[in-house]
């Protein structure tokens, strides 16, 4: 099946936060639930931005970046949610494959098998996964945007677009085949450049092997608070690709060596005893 994606056009976004609401509504994520550990409570900080952070029950959040340039304030909006990377740090470190890529290219996860280790939280270059976690017992579960493919709430499988896209009034969010959206985004970026935005950029076309959530930006990604060149950290690479195989090798060779030692030692020591007994008698 063709890879699907979301295209977010920041230049069309009015930051109405309808997507935030639709996301919560469809995925049955209530606003701050005091019983959920690490839940983030909404609070008025003098900005339209609210709640303050992503949380296990807030998978999508609009950000309002205020950038000063030439005596003018620019209000640059960004969408914070899982970017569904092709080269996904979280998938690389998930110890038991609870995080994986599905057929459409999304980073899906099986919440039932999640061990709660939280390695994905530290491996994500976009700082997206959040988990409920009891500090004392360590019991935890990860949550993040599922691209509306949560079992039982799977809009994509039913042929619908994700809830955030469905609700977006100015059509700043589009859903479709990734290749088509790249073409649309590229065209839009070129139009913006022609209109006097020389730094216009299609974010996510190439980053991390291609993201499945791409942004049309009118200026440099850093102004939007996005990592300019998101990278998978060395520690993320090393854990599964080097350290684990090394551990199996060292542990396995040790056991083999001990088995070999046992066979040799038993045989020679038995022989010695027999000889010893023979010389005695």
């Amino acid at each position: 099946m063709a890879e699907k994606a979301i295209l977010y056009d920041a230049t069309r976004c009015t930051a109405c936060r309808g997507c935030q609401v639709a996301c919560k509504q469809w995925n049955e994520n209530d606003e701050y639930i005091p019983t959920v550990q690490n839940g983030v409570q909404s609070k008025n900080t003098g900005s339209y931005e609210n709640p303050p952070d992503l949380s296990p029950t807030t998978w999508l959040k609009m950000e309002f970046n205020e950038v000063e340039a030439g005596g003018k304030v620019r209000w640059l909006f960004t969408r914070r949610a899982c970017m569904h990377c092709t080269d996904a740090g979280c998938v690389r470190v998930c110890p038991n494959g609870s995080l994986y890529h599905d057929a459409l290219g999304f980073v899906a996860y099986n919440k039932d098998t999640c061990t709660g280790c939280g390695y994905c939280v530290d491996a994500c270059p976009f700082n997206v996964p959040r988990y409920t976690r009891n500090l004392v017992s360590g019991i935890a579960k990860m949550d993040k945007c599922t691209f509306c493919t949560t079992p039982g709430l799977n809009r994509i499988a039913e042929g619908y677009e994700p809830a955030c896209v469905k609700t977006c009034p100015p059509d700043a969010l589009q859903f479709g085949d990734r290749a088509e959206l790249v073409a649309i985004g590229t065209k839009r970026v070129n139009d913006l450049k022609a209109k006097g935005y020389p730094n216009a950029y299609l974010y996510g076309e190439k980053e991390l092997g291609g993201l499945h959530v791409m942004y049309v930006l009118e200026d440099h990604p850093s102004l939007y608070g996005l990592p300019v060149n998101p990278r998978i950290s060395t520690a993320t690479m090393v854990w599964k690709d080097v350290l684990q195989p090394l551990g199996w090798a060292v542990g396995g060779l040790t056991l083999l060596g001990l088995g070999f030692n046992y066979l040799v030692a038993r045989a020679t020591i038995k022989k010695e005893k027999e000889e010893h007994n023979a010389t005695r008698s």
Partner: protein, 213 residues
């Protein structure tokens, strides 16, 4: 009855078993994250909960032991860091000794032989690394930076590979190797026969024989 000598006092043996049991539990629950095929055992955080309970025993047991057994603690630490010519001799003689039972080239050993001292050093150094990195991951998960936390995972896992593999050697030598006939007795009952002490810990046996006189 054959004469016996005490190798490990009761508090030391209790500490050994507390540490052994907690470490094996820590090892097995950690293994569920290290071998993807075992990952299903870790789901719903049960391995995490058990890992934490064992970790508390692993850290608290020595903390209780140390002030109550100050002399043994100092003596034990001294032992770990006292190395000499006989240790080189042990290293040279070890292959023939452990494979072929050839005792001729093996220099008489002290309270612990060189192999045991190496394991004891691993326990001390990696035990501290385990505790420190583990506590940071446990209580610093939301405050420490992702890079620090990932570094802690790597250190914890390197310690796991080294001490886990050496744990196999430790258990093998204590229970299975055909020459270590009374190693189990020394840590279970605390005493070994004078004959065993003489042949395995010659230097130490002479010392205690002298003090007895």
């Amino acid at each position: 009855m054959q004469q016996e000598v005490e190798m490990y006092r009761k508090p030391t043996r209790i500490l050994h078993w507390m540490h052994m049991i907690s470490f094996v539990i820590l090892f097995l629950t950690g293994l569920t994250l290290f071998i993807p095929a075992l990952g299903f055992l870790a789901q719903d955080s049960w391995a995490r909960l058990i890992h934490r309970i064992a970790a508390v025993v692993f850290i608290v047991a020595p903390l209780i032991y140390i002030p109550l057994n100050w002399k043994s603690t100092i003596a034990g630490l001294k032992l770990a860091f006292t190395w000499g010519a006989d240790d080189i001799g042990w290293l040279k003689a070890a292959p023939r000794y452990y494979f072929l039972g050839d005792e001729k080239a093996m220099p008489p050993q002290g309270r612990m032989n060189t192999g045991q001292k190496m394991w004891w050093l691993i326990v001390l150094v990696f035990g501290a690394i385990f505790a420190l990195t583990g506590l940071i991951m446990w209580f610093g998960k939301t405050s420490a930076s992702p890079a620090v936390l990932q570094g802690m995972v790597l250190l914890h896992d390197i310690a796991f590979i080294v001490s886990g593999s050496m744990l196999f050697v430790h258990i093998y030598l204590a229970l299975i190797h055909p020459m270590m006939t009374e190693a189990w007795k020394s840590i279970y009952k605390g005493k070994v026969s004078a004959h065993y002490a003489k042949s395995h810990y010659g230097k130490w046996y002479e010392e205690i024989a002298k003090t007895k006189e």
